[in-house]
């Protein structure tokens, strides 16, 4: 049996790249270690794009990624994609969870603490998104501290643009990285993200299988 395409998820970064040397099939990276999770970033951007009728483009959009940015492949891929599309990305994370190598892709200087976070929150942007990453507990010495300083709450969302959206890649720890009530708020597009996951991945399969020949 010869596969035309492999979808690979692997704990080691770079495993899908190694596979491209071993097979002629197209490879879709479904997450390798902490390095990249491209389809999640694509569906995040697609969800954002389709949330606004008459969407003009990603230029001028400000995105804040809250959480353990250093250890999150979703955050890393989102930084890569949104900056490529012209958005401005700000990682909001504890100082010791800074993305050291991936951070080079981000033009915005990262904010460090909750107080500076306020001053740097995407306030007067045209539109902005706010995305939190999973595994928040691992980047902070205590969960209570994370909750106090980095939890995305309705109060903190008041600092953002009124049209700002809240995204989350899941699985979601309610009342840890995101206030439970906010997750059910109309500003939260988390369920639409899940729904968009299917057509985005269908499009990836289509592009790589049909488009390339």
């Amino acid at each position: 049996m010869k596969s035309d395409l492999y979808v690979v998820r692997h704990p080691a970064a770079g495993a899908p790249l190694q596979l491209t040397r071993w097979t002629d099939a197209a490879i879709v990276n479904a997450g390798d270690g902490r390095r990249a999770h491209p389809t999640q970033a694509l569906l995040d951007a697609y969800t954002f794009k389709t949330s606004f009728p008459g969407f003009a483009g990603f230029e001028g959009v400000k995105l804040a990624i809250v959480g353990d940015v250093a250890h999150s492949r979703v955050a890393r891929s989102n930084v890569e994609l949104w900056t490529k599309l012209g958005a401005q990305v700000t990682p909001v994370r504890p100082a010791h969870a800074a993305p050291r190598r991936a951070g080079r892709a981000a033009p915005a200087s990262p904010s460090r603490t909750a107080s500076r976070r306020r001053s740097r929150a995407p306030t007067r942007s045209w539109r902005c998104g706010c995305s939190t990453s999973a595994w928040p507990a691992a980047c902070c010495p205590s969960l209570a501290e994370y909750r106090q300083r980095y939890q995305v709450t309705r109060a903190r969302m008041r600092l953002a643009h009124p049209d700002a959206l809240v995204m989350h890649p899941g699985p979601m720890n309610r009342d840890v990285e995101i206030e439970g009530v906010l997750a059910d708020d109309p500003r939260s597009v988390i369920e639409r993200q899940v729904a968009n996951g299917v057509p985005v991945r269908m499009a990836v399969l289509y592009t790589l299988l049909v488009g390339s020949r």
Binding site: D4, V7, K49, L81
Partner: protein
């Protein structure tokens, strides 16, 4: 490994994105750094079509008939509790390092030797 339903190979048949502007097609999706902005936008256009397919009663894309897709989900992806503990401990260590460095800066001290090398990290 799961295989797609075998069917008559209809490769090259007109697909949903047949009308989209021609872009150089990417070979793999490993990393978004390898994709151009045009390729990403073309993918979003294809996604619009696929989202429309999902609203149909028969959710099928004939152009994909006959292709085989393998899923390789290798286990052990989620961090082991020991890894999480180590990560948390690393966070504490790094916080102490940053605080120490800040204090030294305030005191006008310049790190030397090992400490200097560490502070360049």
């Amino acid at each position: 490994v799961t295989a797609a339903a075998p069917g008559a190979p209809a490769r090259g048949a007109a697909g949903p994105a047949a009308g989209s502007p021609p872009t150089k097609h990417p070979r793999h999706l490993l990393d978004l750094a390898d994709w151009t902005t045009e390729q990403v936008h073309a993918l979003f256009d294809t996604t619009d079509v696929m989202a429309q397919v999902m609203t149909r009663t028969i959710k099928k894309v004939p152009a994909l008939q006959g292709f085989t897709v393998g899923h390789a989900v290798l286990r052990g992806l989620h961090a082991h509790p020991a890894q999480l503990r180590a990560r948390r401990a690393r966070a504490v260590r790094r916080r102490h390092l940053l605080r120490r460095r800040r204090q030294q800066r305030q005191q006008g001290r310049v790190a030397q030797g090992h400490a200097a090398r560490r502070s360049t990290r």
